[in-house]
Subunit: 140 residues, 2 copies
Amino acid sequence: MTDSNTKGSRGERELVNYLYDDGWGVMRSPASGASTLNDLPDVLAGNGWKTIAIEAKVCGDDVLYIPPDEVEQVIDFAGRFGAGAYIGVRFDIEYGDPSYGADYPGWYFFHPEDIYRTDSGTYRIKKETALAEGTPIYEL
Amino acid sequence: MTDSNTKGSRGERELVNYLYDDGWGVMRSPASGASTLNDLPDVLAGNGWKTIAIEAKVCGDDVLYIPPDEVEQVIDFAGRFGAGAYIGVRFDIEYGDPSYGADYPGWYFFHPEDIYRTDSGTYRIKKETALAEGTPIYEL
């Protein structure tokens, strides 16, 4: 497992724990390769009112690029399941940084159709866009 | 992994594949121990109208006993998530046996509150009860 995967996995656990502590029922997908079905989101959560399928990304840069197939698979799964499809991204934001709020993980969420796409179709989320326009975790 | 676990895992894949082919979005829980949250069902499935959390059991005998804590964890998860809680059981039934129908896996489902409990609180499902009163997979 690469450092990048380790970091992503830790970030994803953080997301899962936050949602769980907030009262959601949360399931992470089995590790890639362990599943027979390929189009699984990273996280599936429900709270009795809403069900959300999340492709979760941890980004160490200021811009996140996501290949179209990764977005399509969460859209496909969400359509089957009857869930809302979200891309969740956590940029490197220090806990307690007063600019971003002190006591929640720095995750921001977008519906796929609201994400900018490059000429080649790649999805692109800038850190500044996430902070300005993304849905913070406590508003999911 | 014991033979019993292997059998259970194969049966669970069969269940997942059946639901997927039937149009459901389906997620299996990560292997025990891989999760930080303990109260996960074996399978979580949704089809846009219904969401179901399943504790899945493969049984080689004519009677299945389930400890109360395994049932409680699927009830707890389903309550958080906003899903229906089910115990799913697959007894040894030959495919194509005309007594049970030819072309679907021999899985039957019960809501926990409809399952007989012994004096000690253990849940008990007999094979004959499953066939007579359980919900077959295609009626989920």
